[in-house]
Symmetry: C2
Subunit: 324 residues, 2 copies
């Protein structure tokens, strides 16, 4: 069996080959750029690891896993236009470095190429893989729509928020796991376990992201601290705090929401203090544990020898002991 590092290497080699084949001209230049910004390639690595649970032959799982990474980066390229994000991983976003038209068009080309990569697998299992991929891709678009809608709404419930992050973030991980499982030869039941493993892990991961944005170690988070608070983003923490706040706490929250002070220090301090006071941070970590346990439970139920699951379990643990 291949280790996580070996799998990440296989994935990176395939991505490098893809970038090289594209060349660096016209619509292909921003594709190479966004893919070269780095990242841990967790989605493709997890997809290949899912495949490896059921088969030692990984030759058919690398390209489809890279298709998922390319699709993911396509969504980042288009989302950054919509969110008017200036930076991604500390570098200018494509629509800033070039312009919006370039980011639209290169993103479109990336999506088409994701399908080319997806098709580079065993022909006899391509149609079921495509079905999962298409369903997932549409859900990711729906998730982005919800996310944008929430900005204009004052009342978003925790349930709606969880459904949004499920669509926007976690179904792609879920789809990646199911696609890996299909390529590995898993039966329908095992495919479902892998799907729900990815789905729950993805929600846990995104909730932890919300936590780290406010309470994480800034030097390790790699982006502006408490950006969610500064932007009044309706995350788990804010939604829960708004539900729970009374009296002065409510007044303080209402006072700061919508305000964009030049120096956001006081706003961040005041709102994160209320989060702590109302213990919504604890609620959040409880939810992280709940979804994480649900993910692990899916893996436990899988009719595969425990030693084959070891590295995937280990990675799932690592993902949730990030920078806090």
């Amino acid at each position: 069996m291949q280790t996580l590092e070996e799998i990440q290497q296989l994935v990176n080699d395939r991505i490098d080959l893809y970038i090289k084949k594209n060349g660096r001209k016209n619509i292909y230049e921003p594709i190479g750029y966004i893919l070269s910004l780095g990242g841990k390639r967790l989605r493709p690595a997890l997809s290949v690891m899912s495949s490896q649970l059921f088969s030692d032959d990984l030759s058919y799982s690398i390209s489809p896993a890279v298709a998922i990474e390319v699709f993911h980066n396509f969504t980042l390229m288009h989302d950054d236009i919509m969110d008017e994000a200036p930076l991604r991983r500390g570098k200018p976003t494509v629509h800033i470095k070039w312009n919006s038209n370039v980011a639209i068009l290169s993103g479109d080309a990336m999506m088409i190429q994701a399908y080319q990569l997806l098709a580079d697998t065993k022909p006899e299992i391509f149609l079921p893989i495509l079905e999962v991929f298409n369903k997932t891709a549409l859900e990711v678009c729906e998730g982005q729509q919800h996310d944008m809608d929430f900005e204009k709404r004052s009342n978003v419930s925790i349930e709606e928020y969880l459904e949004m992050i499920r669509l926007k973030t976690s179904v792609l991980l879920a789809g990646a796991m199911q696609i890996g499982a299909i390529i590995g030869g898993a039966d329908k039941t095992s495919q479902k376990h892998m799907y729900h493993f990815g789905e729950n892990l993805g929600i846990a991961f995104q909730l932890l992201d919300d936590y780290l944005d406010v309470f994480g170690d800034e030097s390790k988070v790699g982006k502006q601290k408490a950006g969610d608070i500064i932007a009044d983003k309706k995350t788990f923490l804010l939604i829960k705090a708004l539900e729970r706040a009374e009296g002065d706490d409510k007044d303080v929250l209402q006072y700061w929401l919508g305000k964009k002070p030049k120096d956001p220090t006081e706003k961040v301090r005041a709102i994160s203090a209320i989060f702590k006071k109302l213990k919504v941070d604890e609620d959040l970590l409880e939810q992280v544990n709940r979804y994480h346990s649900a993910a692990i439970y899916e893996l436990k139920k899988l009719p595969v020898f425990e030693e084959r699951k070891a590295s995937l379990l280990q990675l799932a643990e690592q993902m949730l002991v990030r920078q806090h």
Copy 2:
């Protein structure tokens, strides 16, 4: 054999079913909107007619043909953002009626759904179809890139222009014909004939579009007369005129290019007079005939009974005796 009208009906029914299944909510509403703006559904109709050259069973060719129409409308949705076009078929474009973010995201969803429709065919021929579709789709993106690049350049040659319209407009028709042929069971040689039939027909069609923009009957063109002249668009007519103009003619062209008078009547009159004087309109119609003949020649070479080709030949003729 089905007539053109019967085929158009089959295509429209499938499109209606697709729109109905999507519903009219969120990201799906603009998809229904743009597809309901009308159009003669020439691309899907031609794709199905290509299939019918080789087989009477059209049940597998309708959905892939609709996939091509959906993909085409996806490119319109995104191109309209890039070109800042306010109107499409006399109605507000999606980015105007909603906003750019909606047009980006609904367009993305449309492209994914194009792949879903494409996969709704005979499984054993899906991979070759997908290959043609992906290659074509990428070329369409490249064509749009060329088109945008040309706006910033002063020296565009006729060869570059023809290559741009080949990519932006004609390869999709070419791909549609090849996909139809594959589904009908055509061999590789026949597939190539159908591809080149579509490619040449598409170029002839686009060149005629350039002609009609300036010299067509306004009431039948359905858009602002001489919009290309007003926008200084580097079409066949302008490129050729700039190549050929000398002395006063050159001065008049240079005088008007870049000028955006409130009332464009005089600009349009002056430039179209020079087109006539330099006979670039005749050159253009000669090229239309050349590409049209090349298209017909591909169809003639096809090893299929002539009576099967009749309706396709007739449609190809009709397409080129439009509103002039």
